[in-house]
Protein backbone atom coordinates (compact mmCIF):
# COMPACT_ATOMS: atom_id res chain seq x y z
CA UNK A 1 0.00 0.00 0.00
CA UNK A 2 1.25 3.48 -0.88
CA UNK A 3 1.91 5.87 1.96
CA UNK A 4 0.18 9.06 1.01
CA UNK A 5 -2.55 11.54 1.75
CA UNK A 6 -5.11 10.76 -0.87
CA UNK A 7 -8.30 12.46 -2.05
CA UNK A 8 -10.45 10.33 -4.39
CA UNK A 9 -13.46 11.90 -6.07
CA UNK A 10 -14.09 14.13 -3.10
CA UNK A 11 -17.02 16.54 -3.02
CA UNK A 12 -18.15 18.73 -0.16
CA UNK A 13 -21.24 20.86 0.23
CA UNK A 14 -21.65 23.00 3.36
CA UNK A 15 -25.10 22.52 4.89
CA UNK A 16 -27.16 25.62 4.16
CA UNK A 17 -24.34 27.13 2.11
CA UNK A 18 -26.86 28.97 -0.05
CA UNK A 19 -25.07 28.97 -3.40
CA UNK A 20 -25.71 26.52 -6.18
CA UNK A 21 -22.26 24.99 -6.44
CA UNK A 22 -20.62 22.82 -3.78
CA UNK A 23 -17.45 24.13 -2.14
CA UNK A 24 -15.55 21.19 -3.63
CA UNK A 25 -16.49 18.93 -6.53
CA UNK A 26 -14.96 15.61 -7.54
CA UNK A 27 -11.48 16.40 -6.30
CA UNK A 28 -8.83 13.77 -6.85
CA UNK A 29 -5.23 14.35 -5.81
CA UNK A 30 -2.53 12.96 -3.56
CA UNK A 31 0.38 14.15 -1.47
CA UNK A 32 3.19 11.65 -1.18
CA UNK A 33 5.92 11.37 1.42
CA UNK A 34 8.83 13.73 0.85
CA UNK A 35 6.86 15.90 -1.53
CA UNK A 36 5.73 19.54 -1.48
CA UNK A 37 2.45 20.16 -3.22
CA UNK A 38 1.33 23.78 -3.56
CA UNK A 39 -2.37 24.57 -3.74
CA UNK A 40 -3.52 27.79 -5.38
CA UNK A 41 -6.88 29.29 -6.28
CA UNK A 42 -9.07 32.38 -5.99
CA UNK A 43 -10.89 33.36 -2.79
CA UNK A 44 -13.69 30.89 -2.19
CA UNK A 45 -12.33 28.31 -4.63
CA UNK A 46 -12.33 25.55 -1.98
CA UNK A 47 -8.75 25.47 -0.65
CA UNK A 48 -9.57 25.66 3.05
CA UNK A 49 -12.40 23.19 2.56
CA UNK A 50 -9.83 20.72 1.20
CA UNK A 51 -7.63 21.51 4.21
CA UNK A 52 -10.49 20.74 6.63
CA UNK A 53 -11.12 17.47 4.79
CA UNK A 54 -7.47 16.41 5.09
CA UNK A 55 -7.66 15.43 8.76
CA UNK A 56 -11.32 14.64 9.23
CA UNK A 57 -12.53 18.01 10.58
CA UNK A 58 -14.94 17.72 7.66
CA UNK A 59 -15.84 14.42 6.01
CA UNK A 60 -16.64 14.29 2.31
CA UNK A 61 -20.23 14.44 1.05
CA UNK A 62 -19.01 12.07 -1.67
CA UNK A 63 -15.72 10.27 -2.33
CA UNK A 64 -13.05 9.37 0.22
CA UNK A 65 -10.03 10.87 1.91
CA UNK A 66 -7.37 8.39 3.12
CA UNK A 67 -4.17 8.84 5.06
CA UNK A 68 -1.75 5.96 4.59
CA UNK A 69 -4.84 3.97 3.67
CA UNK A 70 -6.87 5.04 6.73
CA UNK A 71 -10.21 6.65 5.86
CA UNK A 72 -10.96 9.94 7.61
CA UNK A 73 -14.67 9.25 8.04
CA UNK A 74 -14.28 6.38 10.52
CA UNK A 75 -14.82 7.75 14.05
CA UNK A 76 -12.80 4.89 15.56
CA UNK A 77 -9.74 5.83 13.53
CA UNK A 78 -9.92 9.60 13.74
CA UNK A 79 -6.99 9.93 16.19
CA UNK A 80 -4.92 7.70 13.94
CA UNK A 81 -5.67 10.22 11.17
CA UNK A 82 -5.02 13.32 13.30
CA UNK A 83 -1.69 11.97 14.53
CA UNK A 84 -0.51 11.59 10.94
CA UNK A 85 -1.82 14.83 9.48
CA UNK A 86 -0.84 18.10 11.13
CA UNK A 87 -2.79 21.15 10.05
CA UNK A 88 -2.02 24.86 10.33
CA UNK A 89 -5.32 26.64 9.81
CA UNK A 90 -5.77 29.88 7.91
CA UNK A 91 -6.73 31.87 11.00
CA UNK A 92 -4.41 31.18 13.94
CA UNK A 93 -7.06 32.48 16.37
CA UNK A 94 -9.20 29.44 15.58
CA UNK A 95 -6.36 27.08 16.33
CA UNK A 96 -4.80 28.39 19.51
CA UNK A 97 -6.16 26.80 22.71
CA UNK A 98 -3.28 26.94 25.21
CA UNK A 99 -3.07 29.55 27.97
CA UNK A 100 0.63 30.19 27.46
CA UNK A 101 2.84 29.78 24.42
CA UNK A 102 4.78 26.71 25.52
CA UNK A 103 1.59 24.90 26.57
CA UNK A 104 0.11 25.62 23.21
CA UNK A 105 3.04 23.97 21.46
CA UNK A 106 3.09 21.03 23.88
CA UNK A 107 -0.63 20.40 23.51
CA UNK A 108 -0.43 18.37 20.27
CA UNK A 109 2.50 16.09 21.13
CA UNK A 110 1.17 15.59 24.67
CA UNK A 111 -2.05 14.28 23.18
CA UNK A 112 0.01 11.88 21.10
CA UNK A 113 1.53 10.48 24.30
CA UNK A 114 4.97 12.07 23.98
CA UNK A 115 6.88 11.78 27.30
CA UNK A 116 7.77 14.73 29.51
CA UNK A 117 11.48 15.08 28.78
CA UNK A 118 11.06 14.65 25.05
CA UNK A 119 8.18 17.11 25.16
CA UNK A 120 10.50 19.83 26.46
CA UNK A 121 12.98 19.39 23.64
CA UNK A 122 10.25 19.26 21.01
CA UNK A 123 8.71 22.49 22.30
CA UNK A 124 12.05 24.29 22.44
CA UNK A 125 12.99 23.09 18.99
CA UNK A 126 9.66 24.09 17.42
CA UNK A 127 9.72 27.55 19.01
CA UNK A 128 13.29 28.09 17.87
CA UNK A 129 12.39 27.05 14.31
CA UNK A 130 9.76 29.80 14.08
CA UNK A 131 11.75 32.41 16.02
CA UNK A 132 9.60 32.57 19.16
CA UNK A 133 12.26 31.57 21.68
CA UNK A 134 11.90 33.80 24.73
CA UNK A 135 8.12 34.09 24.50
CA UNK A 136 7.43 30.70 26.18
CA UNK A 137 5.40 32.16 29.07
CA UNK A 138 3.42 34.72 27.04
CA UNK A 139 -0.33 34.41 26.74
CA UNK A 140 -1.08 33.62 23.09
CA UNK A 141 -3.89 36.16 22.78
CA UNK A 142 -1.42 38.92 23.67
CA UNK A 143 0.81 38.14 20.70
CA UNK A 144 0.97 40.12 17.47
CA UNK A 145 -0.66 38.68 14.34
CA UNK A 146 2.59 37.32 12.92
CA UNK A 147 3.64 35.91 16.30
CA UNK A 148 0.33 34.01 16.49
CA UNK A 149 0.87 32.63 13.03
CA UNK A 150 4.36 31.47 13.97
CA UNK A 151 2.93 29.87 17.10
CA UNK A 152 0.35 27.93 15.13
CA UNK A 153 3.14 26.61 12.89
CA UNK A 154 5.26 25.64 15.90
CA UNK A 155 2.32 23.68 17.33
CA UNK A 156 2.03 21.61 14.18
CA UNK A 157 5.82 21.10 13.89
CA UNK A 158 6.05 19.76 17.44
CA UNK A 159 3.69 16.92 16.49
CA UNK A 160 6.16 15.75 13.82
CA UNK A 161 3.33 14.55 11.61
CA UNK A 162 3.92 12.46 8.49
CA UNK A 163 1.89 15.01 6.52
CA UNK A 164 1.75 18.70 7.17
CA UNK A 165 -1.06 20.78 5.70
CA UNK A 166 -0.52 24.55 5.84
CA UNK A 167 -3.31 26.99 4.95
CA UNK A 168 -1.67 30.29 3.96
CA UNK A 169 0.92 29.96 6.71
CA UNK A 170 2.85 33.08 5.67
CA UNK A 171 -0.06 35.48 5.05
CA UNK A 172 0.86 37.63 8.08
CA UNK A 173 4.62 37.15 8.13
CA UNK A 174 7.39 39.58 7.29
CA UNK A 175 9.72 38.64 4.40
CA UNK A 176 12.24 37.00 6.71
CA UNK A 177 9.54 34.98 8.46
CA UNK A 178 8.24 33.98 5.09
CA UNK A 179 11.54 32.58 3.89
CA UNK A 180 12.00 30.90 7.30
CA UNK A 181 8.75 29.02 6.74
CA UNK A 182 9.67 28.10 3.16
CA UNK A 183 13.00 26.82 4.53
CA UNK A 184 11.26 24.75 7.21
CA UNK A 185 8.99 23.23 4.59
CA UNK A 186 11.99 22.36 2.40
CA UNK A 187 13.80 20.63 5.24
CA UNK A 188 10.70 18.68 6.27
CA UNK A 189 10.33 17.47 2.71
CA UNK A 190 13.92 16.30 2.70
CA UNK A 191 13.27 14.32 5.85
CA UNK A 192 10.29 12.57 4.28
CA UNK A 193 7.27 14.67 5.32
CA UNK A 194 4.51 15.18 2.77
CA UNK A 195 3.48 18.85 2.56
CA UNK A 196 0.38 20.55 1.24
CA UNK A 197 0.98 24.30 1.08
CA UNK A 198 -1.96 26.60 0.37
CA UNK A 199 -0.90 30.04 -0.83
CA UNK A 200 -1.93 33.03 -2.94
CA UNK A 201 1.66 33.82 -3.89
CA UNK A 202 3.04 32.18 -7.01
CA UNK A 203 6.55 33.00 -5.82
CA UNK A 204 5.95 30.61 -2.90
CA UNK A 205 5.37 27.72 -5.30
CA UNK A 206 8.82 27.82 -6.94
CA UNK A 207 10.19 25.28 -4.46
CA UNK A 208 7.21 22.93 -4.78
CA UNK A 209 7.32 19.59 -6.57
CA UNK A 210 3.82 19.99 -7.96
CA UNK A 211 1.19 22.69 -8.12
CA UNK A 212 -2.58 22.27 -7.99
CA UNK A 213 -5.02 25.01 -8.92
CA UNK A 214 -8.66 25.02 -7.79
CA UNK A 215 -11.32 27.02 -9.58
CA UNK A 216 -14.86 27.13 -8.22
CA UNK A 217 -14.29 23.93 -6.29
CA UNK A 218 -12.78 21.97 -9.16
CA UNK A 219 -9.21 20.99 -9.89
CA UNK A 220 -8.30 22.80 -13.10
CA UNK A 221 -4.53 22.42 -13.17
CA UNK A 222 -1.94 20.00 -11.91
CA UNK A 223 1.67 20.26 -12.98
CA UNK A 224 5.13 21.64 -12.36
CA UNK A 225 5.54 25.18 -10.96
CA UNK A 226 7.51 26.25 -14.04
CA UNK A 227 4.79 25.09 -16.39
CA UNK A 228 2.30 27.21 -14.49
CA UNK A 229 4.57 30.28 -14.41
CA UNK A 230 5.84 30.11 -17.96
CA UNK A 231 2.97 28.20 -19.58
CA UNK A 232 -0.10 29.17 -21.52
CA UNK A 233 -2.68 29.10 -18.73
CA UNK A 234 -4.80 32.26 -18.27
CA UNK A 235 -3.66 33.07 -14.74
CA UNK A 236 -5.88 36.12 -14.32
CA UNK A 237 -9.01 34.09 -14.96
CA UNK A 238 -7.95 31.78 -12.14
CA UNK A 239 -7.45 34.64 -9.69
CA UNK A 240 -3.66 34.35 -9.93
CA UNK A 241 -0.94 36.80 -10.81
CA UNK A 242 2.73 36.52 -11.65
CA UNK A 243 5.23 37.49 -8.93
CA UNK A 244 6.36 41.14 -9.08
CA UNK A 245 9.82 40.22 -10.39
CA UNK A 246 8.28 38.38 -13.33
CA UNK A 247 5.94 41.27 -14.12
CA UNK A 248 9.03 43.47 -14.05
CA UNK A 249 10.77 41.12 -16.48
CA UNK A 250 7.72 41.08 -18.75
CA UNK A 251 7.68 44.87 -18.95
CA UNK A 252 11.43 44.92 -19.64
CA UNK A 253 10.88 42.65 -22.64
CA UNK A 254 8.01 44.85 -23.79
CA UNK A 255 10.45 47.80 -23.66
CA UNK A 256 12.76 45.90 -26.00
CA UNK A 257 15.27 44.63 -23.43
CA UNK A 258 16.49 41.13 -24.25
CA UNK A 259 16.29 38.70 -21.35
CA UNK A 260 17.35 35.22 -22.26
CA UNK A 261 17.07 33.35 -19.00
CA UNK A 262 13.78 32.46 -17.41
CA UNK A 263 13.75 35.46 -15.13
CA UNK A 264 11.91 34.85 -11.88
CA UNK A 265 13.70 36.91 -9.21
CA UNK A 266 16.27 39.67 -8.78
CA UNK A 267 19.28 37.39 -9.18
CA UNK A 268 18.10 35.65 -12.34
CA UNK A 269 17.13 39.00 -13.91
CA UNK A 270 20.48 40.50 -12.93
CA UNK A 271 22.31 37.50 -14.33
CA UNK A 272 20.46 37.80 -17.63
CA UNK A 273 21.29 41.52 -17.86
CA UNK A 274 24.86 41.89 -16.67
CA UNK A 275 26.04 38.36 -15.96
Amino acid sequence: MYRMLEFSGVSYDYPGHGTDQPALTDMTCSIGQGEIVALLGANGSGKSTLVRLSNGILVPSAGTVRVDGIPTDDDELIWEVRSRVGVVFQNPDNQIVGTVVEEEVAFGPENLGVKRNELRSRVDEALAAVGLTGLERREPHLLSGGQKQRLAIAGALAMRPGYLVLDEPTSMLDPAGRSDVLGIIDRLRDSGTGILHVTHHLADTLGADRVLVLHKGRLVYEGLPDELLFGALDLTALGLRLPAAMRFAEELRRQGVTLTARARDASSIGEALWG
Binding site: A42, R138, M172, A244, A245, F248, V257, G270
Partner: protein
Amino acid sequence: MGLKLTDISHTYAPTTPFAVEALANIDLNIEVGRTLVILGPTGSGKSTLLGIACGLVRPTLGSLALDGVNDAGVLVGREAGVGLVFQAPENQLFAEFVLDDVAFGPLNLGLGREAALERARDSLPAVGMDPAVFGDRSPFALSGGEARRVALAGVLAMKPAYLLLDEPTAGLDARGRDGVLAVLDELAPTTGIVIVTHDAEEFLGRADDVLVLAQGRSEYWGPVEGLLANPAPLLAAGLVLPDVVRVLHDARDVGVPIELFTADPVRAARILAAGLAKVRS
Protein backbone atom coordinates in the same frame (compact mmCIF):
# COMPACT_ATOMS: atom_id res chain seq x y z
CA MET B 1 -5.77 69.52 9.63
CA GLY B 2 -4.68 65.96 9.77
CA LEU B 3 -4.27 63.23 12.32
CA LYS B 4 -1.15 64.03 14.27
CA LEU B 5 0.64 61.69 16.67
CA THR B 6 3.32 63.24 18.84
CA ASP B 7 5.99 61.39 20.78
CA ILE B 8 3.89 58.27 21.24
CA SER B 9 5.17 55.48 23.49
CA HIS B 10 3.23 52.44 24.52
CA THR B 11 3.89 49.67 27.01
CA TYR B 12 1.46 46.80 27.46
CA ALA B 13 0.85 45.66 31.04
CA PRO B 14 3.14 48.34 32.49
CA THR B 15 4.36 47.88 36.07
CA THR B 16 3.84 44.12 35.82
CA PRO B 17 6.54 41.51 35.21
CA PHE B 18 4.95 40.96 31.79
CA ALA B 19 5.44 44.50 30.57
CA VAL B 20 6.07 44.74 26.83
CA GLU B 21 7.39 47.95 25.34
CA ALA B 22 5.60 48.04 22.00
CA LEU B 23 6.32 51.62 20.84
CA ALA B 24 8.81 54.31 21.76
CA ASN B 25 8.80 58.00 20.75
CA ILE B 26 6.88 57.80 17.52
CA ASP B 27 5.89 60.95 15.65
CA LEU B 28 3.52 60.69 12.73
CA ASN B 29 1.40 62.95 10.55
CA ILE B 30 -1.50 61.54 8.60
CA GLU B 31 -2.86 63.97 6.06
CA VAL B 32 -5.88 63.90 3.80
CA GLY B 33 -4.68 63.32 0.25
CA ARG B 34 -1.58 61.41 1.29
CA THR B 35 -0.94 57.69 1.58
CA LEU B 36 1.43 56.36 4.23
CA VAL B 37 2.78 52.83 4.33
CA ILE B 38 4.02 51.30 7.59
CA LEU B 39 6.61 48.55 7.26
CA GLY B 40 8.21 46.54 10.05
CA PRO B 41 8.97 42.98 11.10
CA THR B 42 6.66 40.76 13.14
CA GLY B 43 5.95 42.32 16.53
CA SER B 44 7.48 45.72 15.71
CA GLY B 45 4.40 47.64 16.89
CA LYS B 46 2.49 48.29 13.66
CA SER B 47 -0.94 47.13 14.83
CA THR B 48 -0.44 48.85 18.17
CA LEU B 49 0.22 52.12 16.36
CA LEU B 50 -2.95 51.80 14.27
CA GLY B 51 -4.92 51.03 17.43
CA ILE B 52 -3.61 54.21 18.99
CA ALA B 53 -4.22 56.31 15.87
CA CYS B 54 -7.91 55.37 15.82
CA GLY B 55 -8.46 55.84 19.54
CA LEU B 56 -8.89 52.16 20.36
CA VAL B 57 -5.74 52.01 22.47
CA ARG B 58 -4.77 54.85 24.77
CA PRO B 59 -1.00 55.36 24.53
CA THR B 60 1.06 55.22 27.71
CA LEU B 61 2.74 58.48 26.69
CA GLY B 62 2.36 61.04 23.95
CA SER B 63 -0.50 62.95 22.42
CA LEU B 64 -2.91 62.82 19.54
CA ALA B 65 -4.62 65.60 17.65
CA LEU B 66 -7.37 65.22 15.09
CA ASP B 67 -7.90 68.14 12.74
CA GLY B 68 -6.41 70.48 15.27
CA VAL B 69 -8.35 69.16 18.28
CA ASN B 70 -5.95 68.05 20.96
CA ASP B 71 -6.00 64.90 23.05
CA ALA B 72 -8.16 63.15 20.56
CA GLY B 73 -7.89 60.00 22.65
CA VAL B 74 -11.52 60.38 23.54
CA LEU B 75 -12.61 62.06 20.33
CA VAL B 76 -11.01 59.89 17.75
CA GLY B 77 -13.12 56.99 16.69
CA ARG B 78 -15.33 55.87 13.91
CA GLU B 79 -17.85 58.65 14.47
CA ALA B 80 -15.08 61.18 14.19
CA GLY B 81 -14.06 59.83 10.82
CA VAL B 82 -11.19 57.45 11.51
CA GLY B 83 -11.87 53.94 10.21
CA LEU B 84 -9.73 50.90 10.99
CA VAL B 85 -9.71 47.58 9.18
CA PHE B 86 -8.29 45.04 11.63
CA GLN B 87 -5.50 42.60 10.86
CA ALA B 88 -7.82 39.65 11.55
CA PRO B 89 -11.08 40.50 9.77
CA GLU B 90 -12.99 37.92 11.78
CA ASN B 91 -12.52 40.12 14.84
CA GLN B 92 -14.52 42.79 13.10
CA LEU B 93 -17.54 40.80 11.91
CA PHE B 94 -20.50 40.15 14.16
CA ALA B 95 -23.91 40.51 12.46
CA GLU B 96 -26.14 37.67 11.35
CA PHE B 97 -26.04 38.66 7.70
CA VAL B 98 -23.29 40.13 5.56
CA LEU B 99 -25.40 43.09 4.40
CA ASP B 100 -26.29 44.11 7.97
CA ASP B 101 -22.70 43.77 9.02
CA VAL B 102 -21.59 46.19 6.32
CA ALA B 103 -24.50 48.56 7.03
CA PHE B 104 -23.75 48.70 10.76
CA GLY B 105 -21.07 51.39 10.52
CA PRO B 106 -23.16 53.86 8.49
CA LEU B 107 -26.17 53.17 10.76
CA ASN B 108 -23.98 54.10 13.71
CA LEU B 109 -23.04 57.32 11.98
CA GLY B 110 -26.69 58.26 12.16
CA LEU B 111 -27.78 57.37 8.64
CA GLY B 112 -31.30 55.98 8.24
CA ARG B 113 -31.70 52.26 7.68
CA GLU B 114 -32.37 52.54 3.94
CA ALA B 115 -29.46 54.92 3.38
CA ALA B 116 -27.17 52.62 5.38
CA LEU B 117 -28.21 49.56 3.37
CA GLU B 118 -27.68 51.57 0.21
CA ARG B 119 -24.11 52.30 1.32
CA ALA B 120 -23.62 48.59 2.04
CA ARG B 121 -24.90 47.61 -1.40
CA ASP B 122 -22.46 50.10 -2.92
CA SER B 123 -19.39 49.12 -0.98
CA LEU B 124 -19.65 45.33 -1.38
CA PRO B 125 -19.11 45.45 -5.17
CA ALA B 126 -16.14 47.76 -4.56
CA VAL B 127 -14.39 44.79 -2.92
CA GLY B 128 -15.56 42.35 -5.58
CA MET B 129 -18.57 40.90 -3.76
CA ASP B 130 -22.03 40.73 -5.29
CA PRO B 131 -24.58 41.80 -2.64
CA ALA B 132 -27.19 39.58 -4.32
CA VAL B 133 -24.97 36.53 -3.75
CA PHE B 134 -23.40 37.34 -0.39
CA GLY B 135 -25.80 39.85 1.22
CA ASP B 136 -27.86 37.31 3.13
CA ARG B 137 -25.02 34.89 3.91
CA SER B 138 -23.64 34.63 7.42
CA PRO B 139 -20.32 36.47 7.82
CA PHE B 140 -19.07 33.45 9.76
CA ALA B 141 -19.61 30.96 6.96
CA LEU B 142 -17.31 32.64 4.46
CA SER B 143 -13.87 31.77 3.17
CA GLY B 144 -10.94 33.70 4.68
CA GLY B 145 -10.62 36.08 1.75
CA GLU B 146 -14.37 36.65 1.57
CA ALA B 147 -14.44 37.57 5.29
CA ARG B 148 -11.64 40.09 4.78
CA ARG B 149 -13.52 41.69 1.89
CA VAL B 150 -16.65 42.07 4.03
CA ALA B 151 -14.63 43.68 6.83
CA LEU B 152 -13.14 46.09 4.29
CA ALA B 153 -16.55 46.89 2.83
CA GLY B 154 -17.86 47.69 6.32
CA VAL B 155 -15.22 50.33 6.89
CA LEU B 156 -15.40 51.73 3.33
CA ALA B 157 -19.16 52.16 3.77
CA MET B 158 -18.48 54.74 6.49
CA LYS B 159 -16.41 56.84 4.08
CA PRO B 160 -13.96 57.83 6.81
CA ALA B 161 -11.68 60.81 6.23
CA TYR B 162 -8.83 58.75 7.65
CA LEU B 163 -8.63 55.11 6.63
CA LEU B 164 -6.28 52.80 8.53
CA LEU B 165 -5.73 49.36 7.04
CA ASP B 166 -3.88 46.51 8.76
CA GLU B 167 -2.56 44.21 6.03
CA PRO B 168 -5.58 44.80 3.80
CA THR B 169 -4.52 42.41 1.04
CA ALA B 170 -3.28 39.47 3.13
CA GLY B 171 -5.29 36.44 2.07
CA LEU B 172 -6.81 38.13 -0.96
CA ASP B 173 -6.48 36.61 -4.41
CA ALA B 174 -5.04 38.64 -7.30
CA ARG B 175 -8.39 40.03 -8.36
CA GLY B 176 -9.23 40.97 -4.78
CA ARG B 177 -5.88 42.71 -4.40
CA ASP B 178 -6.41 44.66 -7.62
CA GLY B 179 -9.89 45.61 -6.42
CA VAL B 180 -8.60 46.94 -3.12
CA LEU B 181 -5.81 48.83 -4.83
CA ALA B 182 -8.31 50.40 -7.23
CA VAL B 183 -10.53 51.50 -4.33
CA LEU B 184 -7.54 53.00 -2.55
CA ASP B 185 -6.42 54.82 -5.69
CA GLU B 186 -9.90 56.29 -5.96
CA LEU B 187 -10.02 57.36 -2.30
CA ALA B 188 -6.44 58.59 -2.14
CA PRO B 189 -7.03 62.24 -3.16
CA THR B 190 -9.75 62.77 -0.53
CA THR B 191 -8.63 60.48 2.28
CA GLY B 192 -5.69 60.11 4.64
CA ILE B 193 -4.70 56.49 4.07
CA VAL B 194 -2.41 54.41 6.27
CA ILE B 195 -1.49 50.90 5.19
CA VAL B 196 0.34 48.40 7.35
CA THR B 197 1.77 45.74 5.08
CA HIS B 198 4.46 43.12 4.57
CA ASP B 199 4.00 43.49 0.84
CA ALA B 200 6.30 46.41 0.11
CA GLU B 201 6.23 45.59 -3.60
CA GLU B 202 2.49 46.06 -3.79
CA PHE B 203 2.15 49.26 -1.82
CA LEU B 204 5.35 51.30 -1.89
CA GLY B 205 4.73 52.02 -5.56
CA ARG B 206 1.57 53.98 -4.71
CA ALA B 207 2.46 55.55 -1.35
CA ASP B 208 3.76 59.04 -0.67
CA ASP B 209 5.39 58.39 2.68
CA VAL B 210 6.70 55.43 4.59
CA LEU B 211 7.36 54.68 8.25
CA VAL B 212 9.76 51.84 9.02
CA LEU B 213 9.39 50.38 12.50
CA ALA B 214 11.85 48.10 14.28
CA GLN B 215 11.14 46.99 17.83
CA GLY B 216 8.77 49.86 18.37
CA ARG B 217 11.18 52.52 17.16
CA SER B 218 11.13 54.57 14.00
CA GLU B 219 13.98 53.70 11.63
CA TYR B 220 12.68 55.98 8.90
CA TRP B 221 9.80 58.34 8.34
CA GLY B 222 9.69 60.27 5.11
CA PRO B 223 9.08 60.08 1.37
CA VAL B 224 9.12 56.64 -0.25
CA GLU B 225 11.70 57.63 -2.87
CA GLY B 226 14.15 58.62 -0.17
CA LEU B 227 13.97 55.20 1.45
CA LEU B 228 14.25 53.31 -1.82
CA ALA B 229 17.23 55.37 -2.97
CA ASN B 230 18.97 54.76 0.34
CA PRO B 231 17.50 51.61 1.85
CA ALA B 232 19.82 51.27 4.85
CA PRO B 233 16.98 51.82 7.40
CA LEU B 234 14.96 49.07 5.76
CA LEU B 235 17.81 46.61 6.11
CA ALA B 236 18.55 47.82 9.64
CA ALA B 237 14.95 46.95 10.55
CA GLY B 238 15.56 43.40 9.33
CA LEU B 239 13.46 43.79 6.20
CA VAL B 240 14.50 43.04 2.66
CA LEU B 241 14.67 45.27 -0.37
CA PRO B 242 11.92 44.40 -2.86
CA ASP B 243 13.38 42.37 -5.75
CA VAL B 244 12.57 45.05 -8.28
CA VAL B 245 14.35 47.78 -6.30
CA ARG B 246 17.35 45.51 -5.84
CA VAL B 247 17.72 45.13 -9.59
CA LEU B 248 17.63 48.94 -9.97
CA HIS B 249 20.41 49.29 -7.39
CA ASP B 250 22.47 46.54 -9.01
CA ALA B 251 22.01 48.31 -12.32
CA ARG B 252 23.27 51.59 -10.91
CA ASP B 253 26.23 49.79 -9.36
CA VAL B 254 27.31 48.53 -12.79
CA GLY B 255 27.00 52.03 -14.25
CA VAL B 256 23.45 52.18 -15.63
CA PRO B 257 21.92 55.62 -14.96
CA ILE B 258 18.78 55.22 -12.82
CA GLU B 259 16.70 58.38 -12.51
CA LEU B 260 14.31 57.19 -9.80
CA PHE B 261 13.97 54.22 -7.47
CA THR B 262 10.49 52.75 -7.35
CA ALA B 263 8.97 49.47 -6.18
CA ASP B 264 6.29 49.43 -8.86
CA PRO B 265 7.34 46.64 -11.27
CA VAL B 266 6.12 48.29 -14.46
CA ARG B 267 7.51 51.75 -13.69
CA ALA B 268 10.78 50.22 -12.50
CA ALA B 269 11.11 48.27 -15.75
CA ARG B 270 10.60 51.43 -17.80
CA ILE B 271 13.19 53.30 -15.77
CA LEU B 272 15.70 50.49 -16.18
CA ALA B 273 14.98 50.15 -19.91
CA ALA B 274 15.55 53.92 -20.35
CA GLY B 275 18.81 53.66 -18.43
CA LEU B 276 20.01 50.73 -20.52
CA ALA B 277 19.14 52.62 -23.71
CA LYS B 278 21.26 55.57 -22.52
CA VAL B 279 24.22 53.27 -21.85
CA ARG B 280 23.97 51.85 -25.36
CA SER B 281 23.72 55.17 -27.18
